[in-house]
């Protein structure tokens, strides 16, 4: 979408958001102000915004990765949850120094998410099963699985909610800013974004992925194995989302519970689209949506605007962005 229609679209969303706020009996200007203050109004607020940015960045990169390969991974939420679950389980069980435990936890999460993505990828590669349906179904299975495990067999005895035991303090991700929840996960996400950009633009593997997404018939004739690409892409996509779940467990919550994600995996689709599937632009988009996420609570408390207006507007944004051509329109 060009600059003109993007501006019109953004303005339209703002107007609709304002109307919704007014409908809720709140002052739209106060609402926007509260949102921005809540997101950017101080060092603590900014750190929270960056926490949300990180939480969105991982699944958004995962979604974009799959989309670039021509696969609709609607299952980032489920992959994130399974990744978080694995991370929580390993983390609670592992008594080791941080420099061993933290990589182990992150790897566990990555592997868990990779497995979840692999299932959908295998269904597509081996049976031609539609990955949209597969990932949608797997999202729900993931939630149910997590629910079952942490309410029952793996429930932490001391915990009040459905969750695992708290991770030992040595396994917590190092904090970037003392007194905040902002951890090195942000740096990890940024590094991943840069790496993915390089992967797509310069590598043979990235070339093959892009070709499979942009022109599958031509790619197949050029020797690219579409089935294998689908499998690998879905697995790696799940891995990235799973890593995101692991950072939430090890960095933010310090345990796994079923309320790990307020729908990051779905909002990530909007983030990926706003970023036009380009890793670096997705970083910027994740920051914008991070503002929405972290500011919305302040907006609710101070300006009495229900924070669900944010998901409403995010939904509208996704619908508007669905007009964007996802593949075949760009070079590296």
């Amino acid at each position: 979408m060009n600059a003109r229609s993007a501006t019109i679209f953004a303005v339209a969303l703002l107007v609709i958001a304002a109307a919704a706020m007014a409908l809720a009996g709140a002052n739209p200007l106060a609402g926007f102000a509260a949102l921005l203050r809540g997101a950017l109004g101080g060092e603590h607020q900014l750190s929270e915004t960056l926490v949300q940015t990180t939480a969105l960045l991982f699944p958004a990169l995962a979604v974009a990765f799959a989309f670039r390969a021509g696969l609709f991974n609607i299952g980032a939420e489920g992959q994130l949850i399974v990744g978080g679950l694995c991370a929580g389980l390993i983390g609670a069980a592992l008594a080791a120094p941080g420099w061993i435990a933290i990589p182990a936890i992150l790897c566990a999460g990555t592997a868990g998410g990779a497995f979840w993505g692999f299932i959908a990828g295998a269904l597509r590669a081996r049976f031609g099963g539609n990955e949209v349906i597969a990932t949608l179904m797997l999202n729900i299975v993931a939630a149910l699985l997590a629910n079952y495990l942490v309410s029952g067999p793996l429930h932490a005895p001391a915990a009040t909610g459905a969750e695992t035991a708290v991770l030992p303090a040595g396994s917590w991700l190092p904090v970037l800013l003392p007194g905040t929840r902002l951890t090195i996960a942000l740096l990890l996400a940024l590094a991943l974004a840069v790496f993915l950009r390089y992967l797509f633009a310069r590598t043979v593997f990235g070339y093959g992925l892009r070709a499979a997404g942009d022109a599958p018939a031509a790619a197949a004739r050029a020797g690219i194995d579409l089935r294998r690409t689908a499998l690998v892409a879905m697995t790696l996509s799940g891995a990235i989302a799973g890593l995101g779940g692991a950072t939430l467990v090890a960095g933010v919550l310090h345990r796994f519970n079923v309320a790990l994600s307020p729908g990051y995996g779905f909002i990530a689709i909007a983030v990926a689209l706003v970023g036009a599937l380009d890793p670096l632009r997705i970083v910027a988009a994740a920051f914008a949506f991070g503002i929405l996420q972290s500011g919305s609570l302040t907006m609710q408390v101070l300006a009495h605007v229900p924070k669900d207006v944010v998901s409403f507007v995010e939904g509208l944004a996704i619908i508007g962005l669905s007009a964007q051509r996802l593949t075949g329109t760009r070079d590296a």
């Binding site: 070339y207 031509a218 790619a219 070079d331």
Partner: protein
Amino acid sequence: MTDGASLALEARGIVKRFGSVCAVDGVDLDLVRGEIHALCGENGAGKSTLARIVAGTLAPTSGSVLRTGAVGLVHQHFELVDRLRVWENVVLGREPRRGLRLDETAARERVRMLAASYALDVDPDAIVENLPVGIAQRVEILRELSREPTALVLDEPTAVLAPGEIDALFATLRELAARGAAILVITHKLAEVIAHADRVTVMRAGRVVMRSATAATSLEAIARAMVGGEVPGLAPRSGVAPRPAFAARALSAGGGAHALRSATFEVRGGEIVGIAGVEGNGQSALTDAIAGMLPYEGEMSLGEQPLRGDPAARIAAGVRIIPQDRQREGLVLGWSIVDNVALGDQTRPPLARGWTIDRNAAAALATQIVERFDVRTPSIRTSVASLSGGNQQKVVVGRALAHAPRFVVAYQPTRGIDVGAAALVQSRLIEARNAGTAVLLVSFELDEVLALSDRVLVLYRGAIAGAFERAAFDRARIGALMAGAA
């Protein structure tokens, strides 16, 4: 001018723009009842666009079309619902009803009557996707005829027919004309125009450049009007001693009506072998099997080695395919020329260096292709989507011939491109042959096959029906074999 009472359709000042491209630039056209009118022109001349405007399925940017009744349109690539039956396709939109329901009996009867009336034999209950192409065309014609049109437009109707079927089609059209319809046939087959049409109009670059009664003109004159000058000549053939290169033994692939059945043949380095045949006789199965895209039985070999494996393995062995559909199968439309020239070679040097793509090598290759194939483009970084069809095809062919392949399969290499680009592509194929490449030319244009090949094999219903050396090309006999003669 023709008198008003006998006009079925009058189009005046038709202009059609698509964005900045002007496809039709001020065209007048009259269709007279009882006449078969041929519309000729190169690809890109605007014929199909004009046909759709005349038929009413596309609105012109400006200009007017006066119709005295319905205008039927038979598309080049049929617009039928494959999974539905013949009768469902024919009555779609004009379904006979009994209360809320479809009256299936009445529908079948209507189809039978129409078919009998125009001698277009077809089974109303057959499912369209199982029909051979020539029969499926009848279904589309019947659908249009059921609207009782005063004019019928057919876009390249003979592209998918065997010579015998072509005669039958024109007999039908003549009958329709005799009953008072105006017939417009869009075609680039000038022999048919001279033989069957009463009147011819030639378009070039969106404008009409010639109008004539066919009796008052000649094939050469029409060809010259289409091209706007002389047709460029081809590269000379040098004497080459052919060496063994590609061999196929008992090659069978695909299924159903378009399968390849136990083909055995050779293509030697330094020769062009042409496969002559009407579309739908196994050509796609043959090329896809060679490409490694389709499972097959039988054997293939390249030089001394057996030729096996997936497309990547075959490309690595030195086999390059020029696919039939450049936009879908040959290019990534959204990418630049540079990115596209790496396609197929992206895992090997010189285009790959370890894990990464060597961008300098790709740029150098792109520049080389653009120069050698005269690709008209502002830069090698231009997206191929903005190139014309002819220039896109040059990129595809240039890439295929770039690394001196051992064996090239060219499937419809000049489909849908202008005469200048076609001549260049054909010349480059000849030059590859001169340099020792084995070339298999698969084309539905018999003239092209005869002009380029050292040997011709005729493919009919998936089997090789005849073989001819260049010195002994017999056009009539080849045409007869293409249609299934014994």
